[in-house]
Symmetry: C2
Subunit: 96 residues, 2 copies
Amino acid sequence: MKKDKESISKLSEFYKVFGDTTRLHILYTLLQKEMCVGDLSKLLNISQSAISHQLKILRLYSLVRYEKKGQCVFYSITDEHVKKILEDGFLHMSEL
Amino acid sequence: MKKDKESISKLSEFYKVFGDTTRLHILYTLLQKEMCVGDLSKLLNISQSAISHQLKILRLYSLVRYEKKGQCVFYSITDEHVKKILEDGFLHMSEL
DNA sequence: CCTTTCTATGAATAATTGTTCATATATTCA
DNA sequence: TGAATATATGAACAATTATTCATAGAAAGG
């Protein structure tokens, strides 16, 4: 695995995505079940706009996917690999 | 594993530490061999002060340890667990 | 249609974080 | 002891990132 400037920069971006409480809250909530934007907003007590902006970033990094059902847009964790990353996070931390 | 506000906040802090190119560069450099502040500064072409400030954060999170030898302070990765986290990072990313 | 509801988004603002600059402390060596 | 070298650190400044605010678009229901 190369550890040049380029890939270290990529890796730091990757970590940065997880390094925000709003995004982590969204991710761990979606780990339980898929949810639409408004529900996330109410549940986490964060404005709809803020949620939407952060979901955009999570989408950009392919951490969540979405499906439109009527007026609602349901978001969910992309796949098992992302779920694993999320579960590993707590393990790593608790070992430090 | 509890996923309350408190622990999600802790976890995001943990990720945040890795979410900076300077700190990652330092960490991956120290993964090769222990090094003193000045050498890191020269090698990475980052001011001594910036390196020192970032090392302080890495120390705070127990990711590095240091040993004073004369005027120099040699830094190294704390332990195998931290090394594992660093190596896992690239794997996770490459699978996304 | 018109209104309501849900979501997305650009721009402005607020908050956070990183770097630089100036300087202090400690150690070595002449 | 005095000068040089290595590191740390507080404060100011710069840069980045998140949130809010205002608003637009899309779908559903009356």
